[in-house]
C-alpha cells in the first residue's frame, strides 16, 4: 500500500491569534506523515482549488458569494466559534480541492490510502452557513464528487464532535451512509440515535453518541456491533473518513479518553469497511493538542498502511457500553416511526 497525501498549500493566512484552530495543526499532521519514513511509498497529489461547480454540489451559491465577499472585506467572526480572514476564502477552496485531488490520484491506482491534510476543517459546515471552525465541508464536497460518478459513499466520522453539516447535507441521499461516533452532550448539540436519515434515506444516518469518559473499546464495539451490519447492507464503493483526533484523552476540546493506539484500531476498521483496497480516504477534521494530533495521525496511517504501529496502549473500561446498547433500540423506534408515517401518507 502507498500513501497519497495532498501537496501542502499555504494556510498561514487563516489564523486568529489564540484560536485553537491554527496553522500549526497541519504542521503536526504533516510531521506525522514524515515520521512514517515512507520513501517512495509516499505520493503527493498536486494542490488545486475546488471549482465553483464542485462547491455547488454541496453549498448554496448565495453562501459561497457571501463567504467570498466577507473574506475579501477583511473577514471577522462568523459566529462565536468561527472566524474568517482576508485569505480564508482562497484557503478554504484549497482545502476542498485537496480532497478532490487526493481522490483523483487514488482513482488512478488501486493500492493507496488517502490522507487529506486540510484546514479549516469541514464537517460542521452546513450547505448555507459556516459553523464550528468550518467554512466549506471538505469531506462532503469529495463525497458529492464521487456521487456524481455513480459511487456509493460511506462517511465515517470519528471526530469527537458530531458532524452536523455532513449529516444535514446528505440527510435525504440514499447513496450516502453517514456514521458518526461522538461525545454527547457536546457541541453542536445534534447527533442523537433517533436521527436516522430523511424519508428518502431512512437508515442512511447512524449516530452513536458516547458519554464523557468513554474509551476506545467502547467506540470499537459500537462500530463493530452497530455500524458494521448497516455498512454491510449499504455496500459502499468508497469510504471517506472525517478523521478528527480530538477524541484523544489529551485534547482540550472534549472528554473522551481515546489514545493513539485506539485511532490505529479505528483505521483498521475503516479499511475493513471498504469494498477493496484503494478506496479509503481520510480527511483531517479536529484535533487541537499538537502532540496528541501528531501521535494519533501517525498511528492511524501506520495501521492503515499495515505497518508497524508505535502507539500508546489502547484505552478501555470507560463508560458508554449501556448507552451504546440503547442506540440500536432508539434507531429501530425512529425507523419504524418514519416508515409508518410514510405508509400512512401513501395510503391517504
Amino acid at each position: 500500500m502507498v500513501l497519497i497525501v495532498n501537496e501542502a498549500y499555504d494556510d498561514a493566512g487563516h489564523e486568529d491569534p489564540g484560536h485553537p484552530e491554527r496553522p500549526s495543526r497541519t504542521g503536526a499532521a504533516r510531521a506525522a506523515v514524515a515520521d512514517l519514513h515512507l520513501g517512495g511509498d509516499l505520493l503527493v497529489a498536486p494542490s488545486r482549488t475546488a471549482s465553483r461547480a464542485e462547491l455547488l454540489l454541496v453549498h448554496h451559491g448565495s453562501y459561497l458569494d457571501e463567504l467570498g465577499a466577507y473574506c475579501y472585506g477583511g473577514g471577522g467572526d462568523l459566529d462565536q466559534d468561527t472566524y474568517a480572514t482576508y485569505d480564508s476564502w482562497e484557503i478554504a477552496k484549497n482545502a476542498a480541492g485537496a480532497g478532490l485531488s487526493v481522490i483523483e490520484a487514488m482513482q488512478a491506482r488501486d493500492d493507496a490510502v488517502g490522507f487529506v491534510v486540510t484546514r479549516p476543517p469541514g464537517h460542521h459546515a452546513l450547505a448555507d452557513r459556516a459553523m464550528g471552525f468550518c467554512l466549506l465541508n471538505n469531506v462532503a464536497i469529495a463525497g458529492a464528487a464521487l456521487l456524481s460518478q455513480g459511487e456509493r459513499v460511506l462517511i465515517l466520522d470519528w471526530d469527537v464532535h458530531h458532524g452536523n453539516g455532513t449529516q444535514q447535507i446528505f440527510w435525504n441521499d440514499p447513496n450516502v451512509l453517514y456514521v458518526s461516533t461522538h461525545q454527547s452532550p457536546l457541541f453542536p448539540g445534534s447527533g442523537y440515535a433517533g436521527e436516522v436519515g430523511g424519508w428518502r434515506a431512512i437508515n442512511r444516518t447512524l449516530n452513536i453518541p458516547l458519554p464523557s469518559g468513554a474509551t476506545g473499546d467502547v467506540v470499537q464495539r459500537a462500530l463493530e456491533d452497530l455500524a458494521s451490519p448497516v455498512i454491510d447492507d449499504f455496500a459502499p464503493t468508497w469510504v471517506l473518513v472525517s478523521a478528527g483526533f480530538d477524541a484523544h484523552r489529551a485534547d482540550p476540546m472534549a472528554e473522551l479518553q481515546l489514545t493513539s493506539g485506539d485511532f490505529a484500531e479505528l483505521a483498521r476498521l475503516a479499511l475493513s469497511f471498504a469494498p477493496r483496497p484503494g478506496r479509503v480516504a481520510m480527511f483531517l477534521e479536529g484535533g487541537y493538542d499538537l502532540g496528541a494530533l501528531r501521535a494519533s495521525v501517525h498511528a492511524t496511517l501506520a495501521a492503515a498502511l499495515d505497518g508497524v504501529v508505535d502507539a500508546e496502549p489502547r484505552s478501555n473500561g470507560g463508560p458508554g457500553v449501556d448507552q451504546v446498547a440503547l442506540v440500536g433500540r432508539e434507531r429501530r423506534v425512529a425507523i419504524e416511526s418514519l416508515l409508518a408515517t410514510e405508509a400512512g401518507e401513501g395510503a391517504s
Binding site: 471577522g76 466559534d81 453542536p188 482540550p252
Partner: protein, 140 residues
C-alpha cells in the same frame, strides 16, 4: 380562558442580547407567560471559563428585577451548539417556545453582517414568530 406563552430569548451577554431580553420581559405581561433565556455554548466555551462574562443566572435575575419581572417566571437554559441552531431547537420540547426573541447583533466583531447574522438565520428558518430587537432599543 387563560393563555400562556413561552418566549425564548437568545442571550450571549452582549448589549443587544440584553435589549432583546428586556423587550421579552416587558412583552411577557401575562402572569402565565414564561421567559426562557437560552445561551448557546459553542466549541470555544468548552476550553475556557464555563460561561462568558455577563452570561450568568445572577445577571439575568438582576435584569429581571430592574424590569419588575417576577423572576419565578424566568428560566435559564444552556444548550450546546451555535446560537442559531440552539434557538431553532427551542421551538421543540422541552422548551416549546411560542416566540423567539433575538438581538439584531451579537458578540462577534462583525456579527450582524449579512453572513454572520444569527437573527437573519433564525428568522429564515423558524417555525414560530421571531422578534428581532434593534440595538439599544428602549422599552417604553
Amino acid at each position: 380562558m387563560t393563555t400562556s406563552r413561552t418566549l425564548a430569548v437568545g442571550f450571549d451577554g452582549s448589549s443587544d442580547a440584553e435589549s432583546a431580553l428586556r423587550w421579552a420581559l416587558h412583552e411577557a405581561r401575562s402572569p402565565h407567560d414564561v421567559v426562557v433565556v437560552v445561551h448557546a455554548a459553542g466549541m470555544l466555551e468548552h476550553l475556557g471559563s464555563p460561561l462568558p462574562r455577563n452570561v450568568t443566572p445572577a445577571r439575568l435575575i438582576e435584569l429581571a428585577r430592574r424590569c419588575d419581572f417576577d423572576e419565578r417566571r424566568l428560566r435559564w437554559v444552556v444548550d450546546d451548539g451555535d446560537a442559531c441552531s440552539v434557538l431553532l431547537r427551542a421551538v421543540a420540547p422541552p422548551i416549546s417556545a411560542d416566540l423567539l426573541v433575538v438581538g439584531s447583533r451579537g458578540l462577534g466583531r462583525r456579527d450582524g453582517y449579512l453572513l454572520g447574522s444569527t437573527s437573519l438565520e433564525v428568522a429564515q428558518h423558524a417555525s414560530v414568530p421571531v422578534v428581532v430587537v434593534p440595538s439599544n432599543h428602549a422599552v417604553s
